[in-house]
């Protein structure tokens, strides 16, 4: 297996509008923290922020998207890579997208007329807006994905990019993260009491919180042989990654840092490195009392006597949220390349309890080294990225081939009912015409009522639906009860528009009453990955909790992401699907604007599908529902021509709105019998997840010999080929 190398870097930060100005200022110890000028907010806890410098927004509607395009453009140019000459895939981590442009507007909808200019702004609201803008401005790209897990988004994007290359799905990936400042995060972090009123002091005895920042970081990742074939300059390598979840609390980190230590160890193991080979840790180091204590404990636990140098960039660039993991990985590549360890700035007296080797002014290092970058976020998802030098003798022989995947559990919520297992799910697809279908009376029961009320007190509707669907899918997979190992089980869920109604209510309160009266209980539920984080905490899942927005193909994006992370060994198993709440704002305003089909009568819906390796299922004597032979995630929707030919008894399954004829044109699948999700499956943008769960169920019950599940949204398409699992 060739190494995965870095051939291009791009950055926009509070220190500069490009890589070289940002890095020069970083090594010089400059601070990009100053008075907040982007907006004013009555009752705000702080008046400081680390605003991006040198951003040229041009005609790009959203600040986050402009940050991403500027850094991504620089990274591609740095790599000398043209997207129209090579197949490049793109993955972006983030948490706000067009929130800055839409947060005030959302509170006025219904009382104002939507002009064309306002519509342009509103279209930036979905979290996929950032990657879509990158595709639009810098494409074509072979595939595009968004991953949201609060402040770990950038690290998760790198992890997913690495998964694609390691499993042979891509040779070249543009991976990064971007987030702009906005009133919602500013008042949200403020009401949680974690914003320092002064410039922050990471690891200081008197540290009192973070400063919010903004920016974007991007890396071009390439398989080494592909990079060498085009004579690219190799800047460094991504040697290993790991993602994990604490399953502890929706905002607070685990005080012992034991999961953070596990994630770091796992990243080193993935890289095949001993802790003593890592000379530098770029800490998450937010300067909140809790983070710095837990992270220091984790660094000590992971590295022991190896004692790498530790610094946090947050005193210079602030906390850039979903961009942080990507920006700080870029910093690590530049640190190793120039053999300089950047400093922690702002700290006057390090907390003696931490006992790590701090760097307070840039230090030169004589020999090549590896560096590790940490990210930790709300909901407990953490990520570590191991970066190495351009020339390395590191052995990649331990890397295994892509692992064979199976589906072992399925569940869905539709029209107020909880469906669990293949027999129930197979009934949610049909070949009967819609107007000839019998529809049951709507259920008056709550499909989440069986959850433990004491454990759901904090959850909003999406959180409860997520906990119920993840639990039901795990139960069907016989993974819900001890002693089944859930250490590295990921929870990945699509959500088309995030918590639009909740964001609107939160912002209305902030704008009407002042940021000092923002609701600390509501803010965590506005994080896009909050529903799956709640589910992961409820069920004790130790893998990452990720949200994968992709317009109406979000469940499909979640399924593909889960399969990719499990196939590459980043996660051991994943519960994938989507959760869609009833939201008139999303359905009546946002969906039509984005070309996502409008729905006559909206209903809530959810799906959960358990993906694991064939060998794990066999080891625990669990008969899979089906095997996942292959899957495809495409931009531009040229064709799905790479699909294997259909077998006899094959079937195509999708929701009714999918234009299967167009997607399958020219393939052997165009004349295969097609079944669609039934009226009983409800009417919501998560129907693709129900189609996938039902498709797996048709194979499991023997109703079909193989099933091709299709999903689409404007300019994007997904396909999953499911076949009977091998009999043992």
């Amino acid at each position: 297996m060739p190494r995965i190398v870095v051939t291009g870097l791009g950055m926009v930060s509070p220190l500069g509008g490009d890589l070289s100005s940002s890095m020069k200022a970083l090594f010089a110890g400059e601070r990009g923290i100053g008075p907040l000028s982007l907006f004013s907010l009555n009752g705000a806890r702080s008046s400081l922020a680390a605003e991006a410098k040198g951003l040229e927004q041009g005609d790009i509607a959203a600040r986050t998207d402009a940050l991403a395009v500027q850094a991504a453009r620089e990274a591609l140019a740095h790599a000398g890579l043209r997207t129209n000459e090579h197949a490049v895939h793109v993955v972006v981590g983030g948490s706000t997208a067009g929130m800055f442009e839409t947060e005030e507007l959302l509170t006025q909808l219904g009382s104002i007329d939507l002009t064309e200019a306002l519509e342009v702004r509103l279209r930036t609201h979905p979290l996929s807006s950032t990657v879509d803008t990158v595709v639009d401005r810098l494409g074509p790209f072979a595939s595009a994905r968004t991953v949201c897990c609060a402040c770990t988004g950038g690290a998760a994007a790198i992890a997913l990019g690495l998964s694609w290359i390691r499993t042979g799905r891509a040779e070249r990936v543009l991976a990064g993260g971007a987030d702009a400042l906005c009133r919602l995060t500013y008042s949200g972090f403020g009401c949680l009491g974690v914003l320092d009123r002064d410039a922050c002091r990471p690891f200081d005895k008197t540290r009192a919180g973070l400063n919010l920042g903004e920016g974007a970081g991007f890396l071009v990742l390439e398989r080494e042989d592909a990079a060498r074939a085009r004579k690219a300059t190799i800047l460094g390598e991504i040697a290993g990654v790991a993602l994990g979840g604490e399953a502890h609390h929706i905002t607070n980190p685990e005080p012992t840092g034991k999961t953070a230590a596990r994630v770091m160890r796992r990243a080193l193991a993935y890289a095949g490195l001993d802790p003593k080979e890592v000379a530098y840790v770029n800490a998450h180091g937010t300067a909140t009392p809790h983070n710095d204590a837990a992270e220091s404990a984790a660094i000590r636990a992971c590295f022991g006597d190896a004692r790498p140098k530790v610094s946090s960039s947050k005193g210079q660039i602030g906390h850039t949220l979903g961009a942080a993991g990507a920006i700080e990985a870029v910093i690590c590549v530049e640190s190793i390349r120039t053999r300089r360890v950047p400093p922690t700035i702002g700290t006057s007296e390090a907390d003696p309890a931490f006992d790590v080797d701090h760097v307070f002014s840039t230090e030169e290092v004589a020999a090549p080294y590896y560096a590790l970058s940490n990210s930790f976020g709300f909901g407990g998802t953490g990520g570590s990225v191991v970066v190495g030098p351009s020339i390395s003798s590191r052995d990649e022989a331990h890397v295994a081939a892509p692992r064979s995947l199976v589906v072992t559990g399925v569940a869905a919520v539709a029209r107020g009912r909880l469906y669990e297992g293949a027999t129930a799910l197979a009934g949610l697809v049909t070949n009967v015409a819609r107007d000839a279908q019998q529809l049951s009376a709507p259920s008056s029961e709550d499909p989440t009522a069986w959850l433990d009320a004491g454990k759901t007190r904090r959850m909003d509707r999406a959180g409860k639906l997520s906990a119920a669907i993840v639990g039901a899918a795990l139960r069907d997979a016989d993974r819900d009860a001890s002693p089944c190992d859930r250490t590295d089980v990921a929870a990945i869920s699509g959500t088309a528009f995030g918590n639009v109604d909740g964001s609107m209510r939160f912002m209305k309160r902030v704008l009407d009453k002042g940021a000092n009266l923002a609701s600390p209980a509501d803010f965590p539920n506005l994080v896009p990955s909050s529903p799956v984080s709640h589910a992961a905490i409820y069920w004790g899942l130790g893998g990452p909790a990720l949200a994968t927005p992709d317009l109406s193909a979000t469940a499909e994006a979640a399924a593909a992401t889960g399969m990719e992370l499990v196939a590459s060994g980043v996660s051991s198993a994943a519960v994938v699907g989507s959760v869609e709440e009833v939201s008139q704002l999303a359905e009546r305003v946002l969906a039509p604007l984005l070309g996502v089909r409008t729905l006559a009568a909206h209903s809530e819906g959810a799906s959960g599908i358990v993906i694991e390796t064939e060998s794990d299922a066999r080891a625990r004597n669990k008969a899979p529902l089906c095997r996942v032979r292959t899957w495809s995630s495409r931009r531009g929707v040229a064709s799905l021509a790479e699909l294997p030919a259909p077998s006899d008894g094959a079937r195509v399954v999708s929701e009714a709105a999918v234009d299967a004829a167009r997607l399958l044109e020219g393939t052997g699948w165009s004349s295969v019998e097609r079944w669609t999700t039934s009226a009983e499956a409800g009417d919501h943008v998560g129907l693709g997840g129900i189609a996938l769960a039902a498709g797996a169920s048709l194979v499991a019950t023997g109703a079909a010999k193989s099933v091709l599940v299709l999903g689409e949204a404007p300019d994007r398409a997904y396909a999953f080929l499911l076949e009977p699992a091998a009999t043992t």
């Binding site: 609390h249 009320a453 600390p520």
Partner: protein, 99 residues
Amino acid sequence: MNAYEVRVALKELMIEELNLAGKKPDDIDDDAPLFGEGLGLDSLDALQLAMVVEEKFGVKVPEGEPARRIFASVNALVGHIVVHRATPRSDDVRGAENG
């Protein structure tokens, strides 16, 4: 508002704002610790409670060590509100009574 009225309004606010579904005001012990054991509340609940106390009673709860003392029990919090609620505004009173 006297201490009795503040106590009644505060407990109703807690049940509503902290989603203590199924709990009645009488279930909340006046002298028991608010956080940790008992109601099972944590630091996020403390932040929410401090915010609604500021909104409904017009009384700020300071951060850090003083907050620990004020949040020791319902009675301690009621005492803090009564002492600092020197000049109630009419809308605060209405908000509290509706709480």
